[in-house]
């Protein structure tokens, strides 16, 4: 119950910040719409490929605003109050993660509705994609918790922007990594963003050839490591923030 109570509060904090909603939903929808108008003759920009790209792009803002919420909570003494309550560390982490799920669900519904209006043929795979993308989002939420635990509210803007840029350029949403090749392609393979996009693309297109075993392993390792690091750093920072 404490987890749900905390996640309800977090959700209210997030959705009452209009800036976060603009970046998490309006901007990705705008990109989906505008790139469709350009009619770019490339595989990446076909709706069944670009919609998953938009989903992952939306996740990068989830990272940014999760980080901002946590950094704000840390600096406003709000976490001091909660740290002296019977809430346990797991209540905090799960409370933050759960609060983002409705936003991710809503993002997906809006993205698919707009994609459908633009011509994407909706099948049952869209439903599976929503479910899988919620699982994929755990990496992005954990990354937000980690960043928010490490830096100040000001710092979250900078680090969050780096995540947004990395997602844009290394996930393959705009262009395939092989177009650049070399070191760039290697970096893309080592980061989890390509894997997260390919997993979602594979589910939406019902085509396992779109995702490699390496993609899945890299993504899974990052998710486990980042989530574990988020829990450890958050717990540590709750204590170290309270020195003096």
């Amino acid at each position: 119950m404490r987890i749900l109570n905390f996640s309800k509060r977090n959700l209210k904090e997030l959705i009452r910040d209009p800036i976060s909603l603009i970046f998490e939903i309006v901007l990705p929808v705008f990109l989906l719409f505008i790139f469709k108008q350009f009619n770019i003759p490339a595989e990446n920009y076909r709706l069944e490929n670009f919609t998953p790209g938009i989903i992952v792009f939306g996740f990068s803002f989830i990272t940014l605003f999760t980080a901002t919420l946590i950094a704000k909570d840390r600096t406003s003494s709000f976490l001091i109050r909660l740290g002296t309550s019977p809430m346990k560390p797991a209540d905090f982490i799960l409370g933050y993660i759960l609060s983002l799920i409705p936003i991710i669900f809503f993002q997906n519904v809006v993205f698919f509705a707009v994609a459908a209006a633009l011509g994407l043929k909706l099948t049952v795979n869209a439903l599976y994609t929503v479910i899988v993308s919620i699982a994929v989002s755990v990496l992005y939420i954990s990354l937000g918790i980690l960043i928010g635990s490490l830096v100040s509210e000001k710092g979250t803007g900078g680090l969050g922007s780096i995540v947004v840029q990395l997602v844009c350029f290394t996930s393959g949403m705009y262009f395939p990594k092989d177009q650049v090749g070399g070191v760039f392609a290697y970096i893309c393979e080592c980061l989890p963003f390509e894997g997260s996009l390919n997993i979602i693309r594979a589910v939406l297109n019902n085509d396992t050839a779109l995702v490699s075993a390496k993609n899945i392993i890299v993504f899974a390792v990052y998710t486990v490591v980042v989530t574990a690091a988020a829990i450890i750093v958050f717990k540590k920072k709750m204590v170290s923030d309270n020195k003096g």
């Binding site: 905390f6 509060r9 704000k72 709000f78 109050r81 002296t84 309550s85 309270n242 020195k243 003096g244």
Partner: protein, 240 residues
């Protein structure tokens, strides 16, 4: 019966000793003020007593429970109003109260919330988002929230810091009403606040608990003209 007992309570941050071998015995229902200059160790002591940070050594017993073995049982019966206002900024005052009632798993939530609304006269700001309130109102809400679980022990860390004289007097009235019912540990920089509100005062200096007594006892002991001079004499070891 003692509400709080500490034995050789010590906190070190790397080489710096923030709190050094503090032995405290605070009675049930007592209003105990913890005074000291900046960096004296007051806030660190409160953070250890409220379970927020772990002591480097020493023991804390709250209502006969050991903080080392029963931290969550202890946390359920205490509450803290931190130095800075600690409320959720985008939630309304009512939502803040409801949220904290949920944190403590309060069974008769509505009844308790209505009690606090009446006690703190929060009716006029109930639907306003916390971040839009003045500093005085935010502090009042913060203290109201800290009573949501009917705590046996309440820590008030500089509750009137930065408030104007009227808001401060209003808060004094609220704190005075708590006396006898709840054990209150208050830290403050205002001498008159400690003198007027507290049953006993502990003076901390450089991490040590320099002395414990009443304001009157301190004045008599130091031969000072008033409590402020007595405090300065004790806190500086008679150097000023």
């Amino acid at each position: 019966m003692y509400s709080i007992v500490t034995k050789n309570l010590t906190k070190k941050f790397k080489d710096k000793v923030a709190v050094n071998n503090v032995n405290l015995q605070i009675n049930e229902g007592e209003l105990f003020a913890l005074l000291g200059t900046n960096g004296a160790g007051k806030t660190t002591t409160i953070k250890m007593l409220s379970g927020l940070i772990v002591p480097t050594s020493g023991d804390i017993f709250i209502e006969n429970m050991d903080m080392k073995t029963e931290p969550y049982k202890i946390k359920a019966i205490l509450n803290v109003s931190p130095q800075e206002t600690a409320i959720a900024p985008n939630l309304s005052v009512k939502e803040n109260l409801e949220f904290m009632a949920g944190v403590y798993g309060i069974e008769e939530k509505d009844k308790k919330i209505n009690e606090l609304i009446e006690q703190f006269k929060l009716g006029e700001v109930l639907k306003k988002r916390a971040k839009t309130l003045s500093g005085g109102w935010q502090r009042k809400v913060s203290i109201a929230i800290s009573l949501i679980n009917d705590p046996k022990i309440l820590f008030l860390d500089e509750p009137t810091l930065g408030l104007d004289v009227i808001a401060r007097k209003e808060l004094w009235k609220v704190i005075e009403e708590l006396k006898g019912r709840i054990t209150v540990i208050l830290t403050t920089h205002y001498m008159e606040e400690a003198e007027s509100l507290s049953d006993r005062i502990g003076i901390m200096a450089n991490g040590n608990l320099a002395d414990i007594g009443t304001a009157k006892e301190f004045i008599e002991k130091t031969g000072a003209r008033n409590f402020e001079d007595a405090f300065i004499s004790i806190a500086t070891g008679g150097e000023l």
